[in-house]
Structure formats: structure tokens, C-alpha cells
């Protein structure tokens, strides 16, 4: 057990520390790299919970794909971050106030949870005994939650269509490669062999 506990504190500590560094780092690229570190540590925590499928998916999807694009964008953006930071002080009072209100509310809510009058025990789906968690997840997702699964698919479709509608510009006069046409070309189409008479200049 002690190894698990140590591993938990390692992952949790690193996750919290790198999450803090995400907002504290001066260089935005460093922020994103710390974000990735936080994701990886979260995946480690998933493994400790026995949710290995989720852990791997977190790495594949968030670290392997989403964060790469993030990093791309941040590297390409030419933003003066020192200038951006000057605005922080200006908005700090309002932002801080809202944050404080949310914090107080959260404390209140958690406080009542601890005091616990009238809280109904939640009724999560019971853990299936002999299935690996990949299989258990799949069975649940494609039966009980199939509606939500399909609905999420539609949302992603809209996101994709939207991105294309808003950004795709078809330019006029672009010469595109047509591999079929290239392959269909024969020597007869393009080459003409002429006998040139010497001395006639043509």
C-alpha cells in the first residue's frame, strides 16, 4: 500500500505544482508545457484509481492531440504578453471579487455537505465485478448512455461544420494537382517529335 500512497502524493503534488506553474509561468509556451505535465500526472492518478483506459485516453487525446494544437497556436501567436499582463491589475478588483464570491459559495456548499442535512446518497452504476474497465465502460456507454453518446457525436459534427464554414476560403485561380489526370497522360498527349531540317533555322 505504501508504494501506492507515495505514488499518489508524487502524482498529485506534481499535478498541483504544474497546474500552478501554468498560470505563474512568464513564457506562454512554458505554460502549455506545464499544462501537458499536469495532464500526464492526472493520467497517473487515473492509473492509481484503476481506470487505466481513461488514463490512456487522457494521454492520447489531450496530450497527444489537443495540447499539440494548443502549443502550435501559442508558438505562432505573436502576442506581447507583458502588455497583456498590464491589464491584469486593472481587472483584478472585479475578477478577484467574483472569484471570492464563488469561493465563499463553494465553501458554503461543501460545508453543508459535511454537515449533511437532507443529502440523498447518490446511486452510481454499480461496478461490474469481472470486467476490465475498458469493457465495463464500453458496455455502459453503448447501452444506457447511447443517447448521450450520439448527441455528443452530433455536437462534434456541428463544431466541425462550423469550423469549416467560418474559415474555409476557396480561392479562385488556384491550380490543383490532379493525380488521375497526371497518370492518364500518355506520351502521345505531350510529346511531339519533329524532324528539324538543318540550316533552315526552324
Amino acid at each position: 500500500m505504501i508504494v501506492q500512497t507515495l505514488a499518489f502524493y508524487l502524482f498529485a503534488g506534481l499535478a498541483v505544482a504544474s497546474a500552478f506553474m501554468v498560470i505563474a509561468a512568464r513564457n506562454p509556451v512554458h505554460s502549455v508545457l506545464f499544462l501537458i505535465l499536469a495532464f500526464v500526472n492526472a493520467a497517473g492518478l487515473f492509473v492509481l484509481l484503476g481506470a487505466e483506459f481513461l488514463a490512456m485516453m487522457l494521454v492520447v487525446v489531450y496530450v497527444g492531440a489537443v495540447a499539440v494544437l494548443f502549443l502550435f497556436v501559442v508558438m505562432m501567436l505573436d502576442i506581447n504578453f507583458a502588455e497583456l499582463r498590464q491589464g491584469v491589475l486593472q481587472y483584478l478588483p472585479v475578477g478577484g471579487l467574483i472569484g471570492l464570491v464563488l469561493l465563499v459559495e463553494l465553501l458554503l456548499v461543501v460545508g453543508t455537505w459535511v454537515a449533511a442535512p437532507g443529502i440523498v446518497a447518490s446511486d452510481p452504476t454499480p461496478a461490474p465485478g469481472d470486467l476490465s474497465n475498458t469493457e465495463a465502460l464500453g458496455r455502459l456507454l453503448f447501452t444506457k448512455y447511447v443517447y448521450f453518446f450520439q448527441a455528443s457525436g452530433m455536437i462534434l459534427l456541428v463544431a466541425m461544420v462550423g469550423a469549416i464554414v467560418l474559415t474555409l476560403r476557396s480561392r479562385e485561380g488556384v491550380r490543383r494537382q490532379s493525380i488521375a489526370r497526371q497518370n492518364a497522360r500518355t506520351r502521345a498527349d505531350t510529346l511531339e517529335i519533329r524532324k528539324v531540317q538543318s540550316g533552315t533555322g526552324g
Binding site: 508504494v3 513564457n27 509556451v29 512554458h30 508545457l33 501537458i36 487505466e52 483506459f53 490512456m56 485516453m57 494521454v59 492520447v60 496530450v63 497527444g64 492531440a65 499539440v68 494544437l69 502549443l71 502550435f72 508558438m75 476490465s132 474497465n133 475498458t134 494537382q177
Partner: protein, 342 residues
Amino acid sequence: MTEGMMTEGFWQGYAWPTIIILAQIMAVVTVVLIAVAYLTFAERKVLAMAQLRKGPNVVGPFGLLQPFADGLKLLTKETIIPAGANPVVFLAAPILTFALALMAWAVIPFGEGAVISDINVGVLYLFAISSLGVYGVIMAGWASNSRYAFLGALRSAAQMVSYEVSIGFVIITVLLCVGSLNLTDIVMAQKTIWFAVPLFPMFVVFFISALAETNRSPFDLPEGESELVAGYFVEYSSMSFALFYLGEYAQMILMSAMTSILFLGGWLPPADIAPFNWIPGPIWFAAKIAACLFVFLWVRATLPRYRYDQLMRLGWKVFLPLSLFWVVATAGVLVAFDWVPK
């Protein structure tokens, strides 16, 4: 007495397993590193043969000590960090690349039961690790503060992300036929027939995507030496360069290992009959990896480099629809004939 039990428990519970695991890791890492060393050698020999040259033949018998001489040379050189570079990220990038290339070997089964960690989601682990490989490249390209390196990194990242998608779908088709994410189960499911036969188009897609994923020719645009000098590691020297180099070749061996596990029956002999099953599994596995690696080198010696738009076109417009179609078709066939595993 309690103290004695404590020490005994400590030995039984922690120290002994730790020593065993460390020994296993050392064994695997040593083998992989030696394989990498000789892969670089093999590459030069194969290319030489293809071009009717002799290749390295001076250091040691047949030039066999050449890779070690190269390694020693790189080790003794000075590590130069460019003035405008971001030193921490600059140095972290090659370490990351190399570490990731070795980490993946933790789940590769060399024979029945011969695996460091036989986890449930082995193939996902491999996929996750290979999807992390792109960070080494991006970090190197960005931290070098050089436009050639950055361009190379951008190209490479776009390329790796694109081909990962079709690799993911290919893996899914295999998983549909196996019903498990465990690598040992995947190999054992090929007892009757290797997946390369029924899933032949996916095998081809996977292998070509593996070429692109490892930035190998004909998809080696990120390092295109004629236009980008050497791509993302143009600013690297000595050991930091060597780590990239080692990582890249280890990645090649890993991709070959994945190809053999997913499609060529891993450590299984081609048929379970007399002369074949005398040879132990790990040897078969090594032979299959070697065969795949030979194709890697063969392709490099034969094909010219792709143009960048052609590369993207192949990934998104050919492989992605094809592999998506095969996922659906495989699932349909499995259900229609009631061949779904379990």
C-alpha cells in the same frame, strides 16, 4: 522478532521485486540499445549495397565496430547551446525523445510471458507513448530559436498528428478482431492466421503510416537536408544530437515491433509444425522486426521524397477514409458471421 519480520517483509515486498524489475529493464534497454547501434550500421550497409558501394568496412571486422566508434566520437564532443536558445527546453527535448522511445518497450512481449509489464491496455499505452513523441520534436524546434529548426518542427508535428489518426483506426480494426487491448492477447489471437492476411490493406496502411510517424523516407520532410539543413535538430551537437539519433532509431525498431505484434503474429512461428516451432519465440520476434526494418531501409534506398501537400493528401484523403471504411467493414463482417471474439 518484529524487526526481523519487518526486514523480511521489506525484502519480500519491496526490495526483491524492485531488483527484479530493474534487472529486466536493464536487460531490455541493453538489447534495444545494441539493436539501435547495429541498425545504424545496417542502414549504411544496406544503402551501400543498394548503391553498389561497400559501406563502412574499416573499423573492426567488416566494419562491425563502426557504430561504437561513432558513438564515442559524439560523446567526446562539446555540447553547444545556441545563444538565443531556451536552455532548459533545449536540453529536455532530446532527453524526452530518447526516454519515450525506451519507455514503450515496457509492454512489448518478446515471447509468451516474456514482458516487463503485461498491462490490460498495452496497445493503448503504445499508442499514447508514440503520440507523445511529437513533443520532443516541437520542443527542440522551438527551443533552438532557429527558423530552420522551427520549420522542421512544424512540418514534423503536423505530419505526426495526421498519420496518428489513421494509425489509431488501424489499431481499432485489429482490436475488433481480438476483443482485447492486451498485447499478449493480440498475439495469441493470431494463432490460426496472422492478421496481415485478412487485414492486408490495413497492414499496408499501418506500415506506411509508421514510416511517416518515424519521419523516415519517403516522408522525411522534417529533416529534408536539402531545404532545411537537418530539420528540427539542426542546432544540436554531440550527446544531445546522439540522443535524438538513438531515439529515432529506437522508434523505428519499436514501430517494427508493433507491426509484427499487430499483423505478423508477434513471437509465433509462421505455422505450428516441426521445424518452425523448434525455434524459440523471441528469435521469431527478432527476425520479424529485422524483416520490417529491412523494408524501412529498402524504402529509403528506393523512393524519392514526397512533396508536403502530397504527404498531407495521402494522410487525410486516402488513409483516413480507407481505414475508417475498414473499421466499419470489419465490424460488419464480424457481426454478420458471428465472429465477434468472446
